[in-house]
Symmetry: C2
Subunit: 477 residues, 2 copies
């Protein structure tokens, strides 16, 4: 009489939990209910699929349904949608396999993910206006750009309500929201030879991060803007889309207060919203962010019900409050911890420090912690910030380039609050040392004195992170 | 009546101390006594100068004598050699400027550096047998390979006793000691079209690290050996050089127990020995490593006398004992701390954790901490080690390659002991997160749960360091 662990959602958090539970307790019955066709996907790869660098959507899959069933022994049910949770009775209601049925659980994980926030402005439902969070949305966008390119015989292609049998050529596209996914897609659009417009209501890119996604800092934003302009991208900052204009049901322009920008397609990146309706409908508590509130073990307000991934809040180690940070590793970490817990080893879902890495053309952009002064002050810090320009290799070693590091610390105790790095090389991985220092509450003085590696092809003798820490430390009293 | 800070040695540690002291206390009198012509050099760049990738030796200089005097206000005296220290009287004896004089100090820093260990075997003093630690040695080696290439009008070229007006063409070279500098020079010799032999008495490269330089781990060693062989380098492992054979005073072969290897030049990398004679002559205590013993502030056994850089011991945070780790950043860190201390702010010389990064052809090789099981056991640990093979980019992202991570933790408490990484990209900077975790005493379980960055072009969703930490953590009870 094995206990049944039911997982709602077959993505990063849900499958991490299911696999971990089965590995840790092979006798455990694990049922994964996924409302769509896709399981185990790599949503972070969608921009590169849209770009065409990754040929097929299936290439993004981390594992196959067959392996989940065969190797892990998971009872995987695709196209089975959970429509209700009854925590009192300990069961869920499922639509799937042509019927509606109830399924009892001993433990339940809600891993229902998130979706791209849809625009408020009128016309946001026109064909050609996309948000991209799911594989289906990625496919629809790519097909819109190059009709037919996304289809392949034998591959499930569920229709999306945004899909459009576009007839004309797409020549210009607007990215609304200069945030992570939006700017990753700028590169994809540019690679396809499209004219790209970026529209954002902030004074700079990254300024108004989607939900609680932290900004990379003004220094990084300036360099990214410079690089976007060099690549011919038109930036429309301080601009709010007031209307999407269409003809024959398809978008033909976006209108801001100042201008009308003719485009053939629009990508909206106004952030990721949690899919929390199922939890809310069951009377499970949501947090102030709108995502499902959880404790240190990923438990919700309902007994035996956990939540992880983009639908759930995470605890931010610096801000010391729940945040909604819809990122891939956090989903994997949360799911894995819940899987271990339900298999018998209570395991905390570790906190986040807000580490974000991305590529914008040939720039590596990375940050961890809290760089935004206002956010820091709201959390009770008195931030001191320095920006240093350093180099990616020893000054004499060929091929090096500029690295700009922005770093913040608390004025009173010197505690590291965050850092952002931008440059053509050497930023993406360096930020993990910053993340480690943030998790362990180092001061910038302590960080500056760590024994990092040095070799001329890979950096100057004082690593850029150390140089920034010295600079901030020097500002402290 | 400013107090006089006298620094012996115008290299990384000495100049870091001098500059820091002047910045922190502009009224302080700072005298730097350097016995040679060069100050402020980048010894770590010598392999790339020998390779020819860096055209001139002067390119390695971090700053100029003019700047040290003009900008920093340092009383810089080149070709002034300190021949004796009298700690009782608080003065040094100097040979320089055509005279012998005494100079009183209030604080003294010994930053006398190190030198390449010379071979024991007969014939080690033949022309064409080199150690490379100083710029002059680097120049002599390059000139030996390509006569005339290292000279430039107007540049000081002090004679070295190894300099040789070589007449014939150099076609084959032996690197004796498969350690950091030796293997960096393999790439330089290969780039010059030379046949390269590596002779080492260990069963694998890196096995017998120079002095206390920690090995990168067997996994990295195996991959490096494979790459060396692919590039046509002949490895003679388990082989000890018993004799250097010469003709007309120049080396023509090395003899091991098994074979005679005809070569035209030899580079010996048997480790770096501290230049500790001056301290020893003054009755200052040396440590068991042969380097100058220091406390947490870099103070020696003599009052007001400090030591930093390659001549001094450092405290190893994991081994909890003094080590001799002659690396560039540690020298800079130590000098800077002493400079701050003598300028009035007592500043600890932070410990080392043994972070080493190097390039071997197109491989990045990095380690931090203690990977060698025997060393770990001697320090009281019971190490558990795992080796994982992972990838440098998301599986679907083009251009990725293999990353192998070896990681060790204590069996009883899971404390991270060390990690080594090797691969074609993404290793050099990742090791700094390991270093940070070592400094802060994280367990592998804690490390595995950190919020690192993820983006498909730069790594898999679970960073290789996290994957290794999960694997080791899974082995613990």
């Amino acid at each position: 009489m094995s206990e049944r662990f039911v997982v709602v959602g077959g993505d990063a958090a849900g499958l991490s939990a299911a696999a971990k539970a089965r590995r840790a307790d092979p006798d455990r019955e694990v049922v994964v209910l996924e409302r769509g066709a896709w399981v185990s996907f790599g949503a972070c790869g969608i921009p590169y699929y849209v770009k065409g660098e990754i040929p097929e959507l299936e290439d993004l899959l981390v594992t196959s349904p067959e392996k989940l069933v065969g190797k892990y022994g998971i009872d995987l049910r695709r196209h089975h949608e959970v429509t209700a949770v009854d925590p009192e009775a300990g069961r869920v209601t499922v639509d799937g396999g042509g019927e509606r049925y109830e399924l009892a659980y001993d433990d339940l994980l809600l891993a229902t993910g998130g979706h791209g926030a849809t625009p408020d402005a009128p016309g946001g439902d026109l064909d050609g206006v996309f948000t991209v969070r799911s594989l289906d949305e990625g496919r629809a966008l790519r097909e819109y750009l190059t009709p037919g390119a996304g289809t392949r015989p034998g591959v499930p292609t569920p229709p999306t309500d945004r899909f459009h049998e576009h007839l004309g050529e797409v020549e210009a596209v607007a990215v609304v929201g200069a945030n992570k996914i939006g700017l990753e897609l700028v590169e994809a659009f540019d690679a396809r030879g499209l004219a790209v417009h970026v529209v954002d209501d902030g004074a700079h890119v990254f300024e108004r991060g989607p939900l609680t996604l932290p900004p990379f800092g003004p220094a990084a934003a300036g360099i990214v803007e410079e690089r976007l302009r060099e690549r011919g991208v038109e930036l429309h900052l301080d601009s709010r889309v007031e209307r999407f204009v269409g003809a024959d049901g398809a978008v033909t322009a976006v209108e801001t207060g100042d201008e009308r920008i003719p485009v053939d397609a629009v990508l909206v990146d106004e952030g990721v919203e949690p899919n929390a309706e199922l939890a809310a409908g069951a009377g499970i508590e949501l947090g102030a962010t709108g995502a499902i509130a959880t404790d240190a073990y990923g438990r919700t307000s309902a007994p035996d019900v956990y939540a992880a991934g983009d639908c759930a809040e995470k605890h931010h180690h610096l801000l010391d409050e729940p945040v909604h940070l819809p990122l891939g590793l956090a989903a994997n970490r949360g799911g894995r911890a819940v899987g271990a817990t339900v298999a018998g080893t209570p395991t905390r879902v570790g906190p986040v420090v807000g580490t974000v890495v991305m590529k914008v053309f040939d720039l590596e952009v990375a940050c961890s912690g809290v760089l935004d002064a206002e956010t820091a002050r709201e959390a009770g810090f008195d931030p001191v910030t320095e920006t240093v320009t350093t180099i990616s290799r020893a000054h004499y070693y060929p091929g090096g380039s500029r690295i700009v590091v922005e770093m913040a610390a608390g004025a009173d105790d010197g505690r590291l609050l965050g850092a952002g790095l931008v440059g053509e090389e050497g930023c993406a991985h360096r930020v993990n040392a910053v993340a480690t220092a943030l998790h362990t509450d180092l001061t910038v003085g302590e960080l500056a004195d760590l024994d990092f590696g040095y070799s001329p092809p890979f950096g100057p003798v004082w690593d850029p992170v150390l140089t920034a820490a010295k600079a901030v430390d020097g500002d402290l009293g």
